[in-house]
Structure formats: structure tokens, C-alpha cells
């Protein structure tokens, strides 16, 4: 047994010596204590948990960015919708269209001209812009729902394991 005599306090030399012997004895005893083997998949489970948490961080950041974009695109959509509404009124489309209910016979008699007039007065550009804005809102909403679902599943796992 290697004992460093230089660091042993001279007055307590015997106590120090006994302590070292005792420690050696207990060390020998604890060497007999077997290691408990974890399940063979524990390492993979840990790495999976870490990559899941990594994904969670990315998802949370993405949700924050998407929420801002969703709010902006929603505002854009509302604005474009009001523009379409105004365009329908200013182009005279609503007046022409109302003829179907007031003068149906005339509409039938000149249906080709009527159809052409209706198409001409249709605010196509404003409608396209509004549809594009609507699809952007839907797109962001889908991404957001997907990410929320991932966070929700993660919360279920956390509750299951009690963390």
C-alpha cells in the first residue's frame, strides 16, 4: 500500500495510517458492488431525446417567426379584402349584376353583351391579390398548427415522465 508519509500529520500518524487502511478495505469492498446495466437502447434514447429537444428549440423559434408573419399576412388579407369590396362597387360590377334580378328578360336577350360587360367590370387584379394573401394566411396557419402539434406531443411526453 502506497502511503504518502510527507503529508501525514506527525501527531496523528497512527490515525492517518488506520484511515488509509480502512479506506483501502472499503474500496476493495465496493469493487464487489456490481454495476447495474441499463437497457441496451439507453444511449440511443438519450441521443433521440436531445435531438427532439433540439428540434423543439427550432420549432419554438419558428413559431415566433411564423406568428409575426401570420399577423402581417392576416392584416394584408383584410386590407386586400376591403380593396376587392371597394373595387366591386367602383367598377360598377354590382350594378350590372343586380340587373339579373331586376331585368332578367333583357339580360337573357343580350346575354353575350351582358356577360362581356360583367367580365370587363370584374376587379381581377384585386381579386388575385386577395386570393394570394388568403393562401399565404392558410399556409402560415398550416405550418403553425403542425408546429403546435409537435409542441403538444412533447408536453404529453413531459407529463408522462413527470418533468
Amino acid at each position: 500500500m502506497n502511503i504518502n508519509f510527507n503529508i501525514a500529520p506527525k501527531s496523528n500518524f497512527i490515525t492517518y495510517y488506520l484511515k488509509k487502511i480502512m479506506e483501502k478495505e472499503y474500496k476493495k469492498l465496493f469493487m464487489n458492488m456490481e454495476e447495474v446495466n441499463p437497457s441496451s437502447k439507453l444511449f440511443e434514447k438519450i441521443m433521440l431525446r436531445i435531438s427532439r429537444e433540439e428540434k423543439l428549440v427550432i420549432v419554438k423559434k419558428r413559431i415566433a417567426v411564423f406568428s409575426v408573419f401570420l399577423a402581417i399576412s392576416l392584416g394584408g388579407f383584410v386590407y386586400s379584402f376591403i380593396t376587392v369590396q371597394n373595387a366591386f362597387v367602383s367598377s360598377g360590377f354590382t350594378q350590372f349584376f343586380s340587373l339579373i334580378f331586376s331585368d332578367f328578360n333583357i339580360v337573357i336577350a343580350y346575354w353575350q353583351n351582358f356577360l362581356f360587360t360583367l367580365l370587363e367590370s370584374l376587379p381581377v387584379f384585386a381579386m388575385i391579390i386577395s386570393l394570394v394573401m388568403f393562401s399565404i394566411v392558410l399556409g402560415f396557419l398550416t405550418f403553425l398548427m403542425k408546429d403546435m402539434k409537435f409542441i403538444n406531443s412533447n408536453n404529453i411526453l413531459r407529463k408522462k415522465y413527470g418533468y
Binding site: 488506520l18 487502511i21 480502512m22 472499503y26 476493495k28 464487489n32 441499463p38 441521443m47
Partner: protein, 204 residues
């Protein structure tokens, strides 16, 4: 130039297995994800055993081990490079075990923190008698030891396991358990006295 950087990186990945823990942390923070894999692989069994001996349930020990490494991953950027990684890791594992025990079993935190009361450590081991020779001849010594150690009070058991199974010194254990070194020495001594008594009570 670009090729050189590439070969340096490949070389780093292949030689990382032999690097120190602190060097691996540095590599991970530089963006080398494999460094974390090596760290987890190096310690997951040790942490699992530590957790198992503290909570006494293999499934819970697995969950706590997972949680410990997730916490390590989350806080690696806060790791103090002047400290030992192993000590820091066990500190997180200990806290996770305590969190679990507090949540699941409603164990008051004081059970881990203030068990020693006002007793200070007295550097006197004379009241710990030597181990009987018969103990080493026991056939089922591993099982016997496991059972005996599990009977020790939680705080003392933690110190004994960290000292004898995980090769930490008193200063490092004090850091892990966030306690004064004298408290740790006192718990160590109490743990050995209890262990010696439990071994002595057994009829060979």
C-alpha cells in the same frame, strides 16, 4: 486552404475519443455534434448507476439519466471551463434525482440538505471498526452489498457512492452536493459507521 480545413476537421473527429471532457465541451461549442455523443457515451452508464442507487427504480433511473443529459446539452454554453466536467455532470444528475424524488414521493428537500444538523466533522475514524474477513468470502457479496447500501440514509448514501464508486474526492463531492466540505466528511463518516453496523449485524 478549404481542403486543409476539411482534413483538420476529419482528423479532429477521429481523434476526439481520446480527448479530455473539457476539450470535448469546447469542440461541441465550436459546432462539433459528435463531441456530445462521445461525452454521453463516456458517462451514461455511470450516471445511470448513480441515479439508480439514489431512486432505486431502473425505469425512473433511465428517465432521470435522459433528463440529466438533456439539461447538460441545454446548459453546455454556461459550463465553466475552469471546473471539471464530471463534477458538473454529477451535480446536474444529483439535482435531477432530487427534483424527481420531491415531485414523486413528496420528500422534503431538507432530508437531503440539513440532515447533519449542527454536527461538525471530527477527523476521527477510530469508532469505525475494521471489516470482518468473512465479508469478502461471501458468495452473493454484490447482492448483499447492494441491499446494505440501499438501507443507508439518502444523504450519506450519496456521499459514500460518489466517494467509492465514482472516485470523487471530498472537495468534488462538496461541489456536487453544494455543501461545505466538513458536512460531506461528516456524512461520509456517518455513512461508514452505519454501513459497518449493517455489515456487523449480518450473521455469517
Amino acid at each position: 486552404m478549404h481542403q486543409n480545413i476539411y482534413y483538420c476537421r476529419i482528423n479532429k473527429i477521429y481523434t476526439m475519443d481520446n480527448d479530455s471532457d473539457e476539450k470535448l465541451v469546447e469542440y461541441f461549442l465550436e459546432g462539433e455534434k459528435r463531441a456530445l455523443e462521445i461525452l454521453v457515451f463516456r458517462y451514461f452508464k455511470m450516471i445511470y448507476n448513480f441515479c439508480y442507487r439514489n431512486v432505486g427504480d431502473i425505469n425512473v433511473a433511465e428517465d432521470i439519466t435522459q433528463e440529466t443529459f438533456v439539461k447538460v446539452w441545454k446548459n453546455l454554453n454556461k459550463f465553466d471551463k475552469n471546473k471539471k466536467f464530471k463534477t458538473w455532470l454529477f451535480q446536474i444528475a444529483k439535482n435531477t434525482c432530487i427534483d424527481y424524488l420531491r415531485k414523486k414521493k413528496s420528500i422534503p428537500f431538507s432530508k437531503f440538505e440539513n440532515e447533519d444538523g449542527d454536527n461538525n466533522f471530527v477527523d476521527n475514524f477510530e469508532d469505525i471498526s475494521p471489516l470482518p474477513d468473512e465479508i469478502f468470502k461471501k458468495k452473493d457479496l454484490a447482492v448483499f452489498l447492494e441491499k446494505t447500501v440501499s438501507k443507508l440514509p439518502d444523504a450519506n448514501k450519496m456521499v459514500i457512492i460518489l466517494y467509492y464508486k465514482n472516485d470523487f474526492n471530498f472537495r468534488e463531492i462538496a461541489e456536487i452536493l453544494n455543501e461545505p466540505i466538513d458536512t460531506i466528511k461528516s456524512r461520509y463518516r456517518r455513512g461508514l459507521i452505519s454501513l459497518r453496523k449493517l455489515i456487523g449485524d449480518y450473521e455469517y
